[in-house]
Amino acid sequence: MVDYFQTKSEDKLSFLSKIKDFFFRKDKASIGGGEKAIQKQAAMGKMTARERINALLDPNSFLEFDLFVEHACRDFGMDKKELPADGVITGTGLIAGSPVCIFAQDFTVAGGSLGLMHARKITKVMDHAIKMGIPLIGINDSGGARIQEGVNSLAGYGEIFYRNTLASGIIPQISVILGPCAGGAVYSPALTDFVFVVDKISKMFITGPEVIKTVLGEEISMEDLGGARIQSEITGNAHFFSRSEIECFEQIKRLLAFIPKNNQSKSDSVSVRKPKSRFEIEKIIPSDPSKPYNICDVIRSLVDDSDFLEVQENWAANIVVGFGRINGETVGIVGNQPMVLAGVLDVDSSDKAARFIRYCDAFEIPLLTLVDLPGYLPGVDQEHAGVIRHGAKVLYAYSEASVPKITVILRKAYGGGYIAMCSRHLGADFVFAWPTAEIAVMGPEGAANIIFKSEITSAADPDAMRKQKVQEYTEKFANPYVAAANGYIDAVINPADTRNTVMQTLKLSTNKKETRPYKKHGVPPF
């Protein structure tokens, strides 16, 4: 190293002045939109882009890219305007010691609007994430396209969407909506794996309330149109809902702890802790098969430390998907939820399950499926909404998945629902059933009404006859032994042994390799 302080005085002066100049430039670019804009951001209950990065990353781990990037617009007097860092902070750093790439749009700079250089900074950090094989986190807080930059702004979005698609299935992509995310901008989050929203802060829509009012005459608030709750409960666009930004960052860290860094690596295994004793299968399952229970309690009785991270918990709650660990290894869990809509498959729950299954398969996360469903939801609205097409996604996703697939049938597995929920027929590696399982073409009531229709209608006492026939059918078919006799399930197990059985099968499947004929890609029903 050259000892600069030993050199001549004019060089020293020039060197020091350059360092001083550098700090001046750095401070100026780092301040974002300035005091006033920062105060405005705080008044909206929002953290600044830099505060968000600092809250999410390990202390002092952030390495910033492109702080001195300048915007490219020379029209409409924009050439005289300075936009520090062009409204987006990008870089790389650590979360819980593991590297991630991150960008955070800075709403204090021209409303976080996206221009050419803003987009270029984002695509650069995306390319970096793909090269490094590390998760990408995008914090969205932007008014949308920078209108002054015209078609260059559209080009910027397109370049981002293209990379989102290329990165899909290679690195985890996380979108955090911490402000408006409107118009074309919504499609980047939509292409990513997990979307986080915060109550009263996140707003997502293609066309905002203003346009809807002038064009269509419908009046609606931003919150009711595309707020955090709507995105979490009605549309299914969001995967995680929280009440504050800090809580949201904790959720992101929690998710990152469960998932692998890329499709070539395994998630960090942790020391094994037994499920908490308060989750006991015998106490969770009611004896009457038409009575509900919370499938999440069953999941918590199976996973390490009863620690289950549910994904999209407020949308299509009739199916539960999420991550847990069994014997220290991450497992993707899909379970019907008898507590909501009796756990039926419908348009939304099929969509939700299929997407999750494909995520797990892409990142080599074994799948555990817990089955208890009466079938598909009947209704004109369901048929007209395309339950055939959406339902087919589940069949496709399970059949396509080549990760270890373990299925446990708890109670009902009727009709098409039985096939869809990772049956042996769709390539499950292990299918277990509890003695309480009812694997049949349909429920006893419905089946008896069809099979014994003439006996029932011609009987002196049709109700008594129906009861008798339902009883007969129940005794004969509402059990796991007919399916077991056909070899469709591998074993009937004691519910209390479920965790041990799953643990054992996971160990037995570590070398699983399923090769299939080459194809470019399939054509799933989406």
């Binding site: 064009v215 269509l216 005459g217 419908e218 709750r229 979490s232 409960e233 009605i234 809902f241 929280s242 009440r243 809580e247 929690r254 038409s290 009575k291 509900p292 549910e310 918990e313 407020n314 299509a316 709650a317 009739n318 008898p338 507590m339 909501v340 809509l341 009796a342 756990g343 039926v344 939304d348 009466p374 079938g375 939801l377 009947p378 209704g379 004109v380 609205d381 007209h384 009727y414 009709g415 349909m442 429920g443 006893p444 009531e445 419905g446 089946a447 009404n449």
Partner: protein, 112 residues
């Protein structure tokens, strides 16, 4: 970790759902409760198929019209849509006037 089943909080009442003649005790989601019930389309009721503004009305009350006759001009998304008669009849009622902004599905004209 706190869990946010906010739809559960508001929809905590237990309900039932019938599938294949079996009654299941279960909660219903807000989306399920708010689902649209199917009604058979009535060719005598002319509804707005898209929200927009009624620019012109070509018929009067009591007028007899035949299949294919122009009823009104509905401007929506900068497109001018002409609504025509599906089945011949007499105009029983006109529920809008030119310049009205109408919502999707709103009843515009009734035929006898």
């Amino acid at each position: 970790m706190e869990y946010h089943h906010f739809n559960m909080e508001t929809e905590n009442k237990s309900n039932s759902l019938v599938i294949d003649d079996t009654v299941y005790e279960t909660q219903l989601t807000r989306k399920f409760r708010q689902r649209k019930h199917y009604t058979k389309p009535d060719p005598k009721m002319i509804n707005a198929f898209i929200p927009g503004i009624v620019r012109e009305i070509y018929v009067k009350r009591g007028q007899s019209v035949k299949e294919g006759d122009k009823l009104l001009l509905l401007e929506a998304m900068k497109m001018k849509n002409i609504l025509t008669v599906l089945r011949s009849g007499i105009i029983k009622e006109i529920h809008i006037t030119a310049g009205d902004m109408v919502y999707k599905g709103q009843l515009l004209i009734e035929l006898e």
